[in-house]
Symmetry: C2
Subunit: 311 residues, 2 copies
Amino acid sequence: METRSSVHVARDRFHLAWDPAVPPVATVASGGVVDFDTLDAGGGQLTASSTVDDIGTLDFSRVDQVNGPVEVESAEPGDTLQVDLLDFQPADWGWTASIPGFGLLADEFTEPLLRITRLPGATGRAEFLPGIRVPIAPFCGEVGVAPPTGPRSTIPPDLHGGNMDTRHLTAGATLFLPVFVAGARFSLGDGHAAQGDGEVCGTAIETPMRVRTRLTVRKDLHVTGPEFLTSPAGAGLPIGRRYATDGIGPDLLGAARDAVHRMIDWLGREHGLAPGDAYLLCSVAVDLRISEIVDMPHYVVTAHCPLSIFE
Amino acid sequence: METRSSVHVARDRFHLAWDPAVPPVATVASGGVVDFDTLDAGGGQLTASSTVDDIGTLDFSRVDQVNGPVEVESAEPGDTLQVDLLDFQPADWGWTASIPGFGLLADEFTEPLLRITRLPGATGRAEFLPGIRVPIAPFCGEVGVAPPTGPRSTIPPDLHGGNMDTRHLTAGATLFLPVFVAGARFSLGDGHAAQGDGEVCGTAIETPMRVRTRLTVRKDLHVTGPEFLTSPAGAGLPIGRRYATDGIGPDLLGAARDAVHRMIDWLGREHGLAPGDAYLLCSVAVDLRISEIVDMPHYVVTAHCPLSIFE
């Protein structure tokens, strides 16, 4: 395959499993620029005019596809792939859903929920609910290289990256991934226009995305899992004043659930939101932090809601 | 007991368990100001000239005392106590230790570690390690009311508050706590000059602290656990650019441990820190966030290190 200094990966060049057996769609020189044109995490099954009924007929075998893989010349197992995230351009709309059986509170939110949001572009704010405007900070939920063995579902992330759903991987950030197979075989997808730390309902503001990256092989660096340098833009996300709710107990997952419950309660009593709307809002704008992980046998997980979204 | 509009709680008015049976040291009117003069979490056993050998002789029965309790007039079970955190004044020194058997990586850091830090006051930065300056953002690790039953150790936090070790509870923040017993019986202690989300080694920069609070009974509000409004100051903590490391796996605690391991590795390879120094630095300056909690069966916990501490 010809090695090029820049590559474009079209929307239809995707795969549905992380697997070293998936053949590369292109080969790029180390330091080369790769542009991706990706569908949303639903693989195009939802549109700006979809309704909640469409959640019931989603074909899950088409969910969380990733575009690529792109082979990077000279990458060998044990190297590190440096991924400079240069630009993200979301579509002019996105969707957020609670899908039965999926999400941190799936046992409570058993009915499908869907919200379509108009997006202003790669910056600014989007009106997620009437009067509630969420800051746009686009990134890809899925960013990864081929794992050592496969096939693996694209749903769980792992040390090769994948569905990390890490909202700090915005334009200007640099991600470092371990290389497991020759050529690294880099792919991405699952465009998110906005998300809180945790992505608690299971989806962000999901959107088709055009992405520009630079891929560089680092022979001098050996990482054992994903590491990253945040961008000035990501660092500058408006945190401002926040309202925060705690979950406290012997289990971090239970504490996280309790913190989100209390946030949903607060969004209801303070801002009049229905529980389902509040749950979706938590997923796109509320951050989960581990406040304390040492005072045994109880941990504290805190949900932080930026008050700027109400202004 | 006389009800006053302001109260001062002296350094020697402390208790060593959360317990509704502990009698109040004073009664304050709702809306009154309460000043506390607290020892450090070690109860005065460590000083600015302590050495690591003193960790071995710490009397743990005196650790994590809290000052109070102060009875708040008219507070009844089911009410909410609003705690306005008005001012924190740390001493001019603090200590950070890894105490054998305690901390997120206690199984690996089995030898005691101690670091004494000179503090510049309630703002500014403190040189925690040569050339590494940590932003000062003082708060109390312990803030709580009497639980419904007792006695309970002051180490684990619970829905009554207590040892929440939540670094966002700085001056200007407002904490809401559920009231379980008549008079609420409010106490605090465990002064921290600086801490990251998680407090991974088990201690922050521990320091004696003078604290000013306003305690107000809220009959109109019913919270079921701690909730808080962050202060502009807390919100303004310098987040800036960060280096971040991931832990990924089926268990949040294991993922948090992996994330901290990778951060310790990075602090070693990039900044030349010994593992013990890096572990203590993580506790006072590195934040644990839950990046993703829904992509079953794998979670992502991320440790964020602000790069400003190296500048």
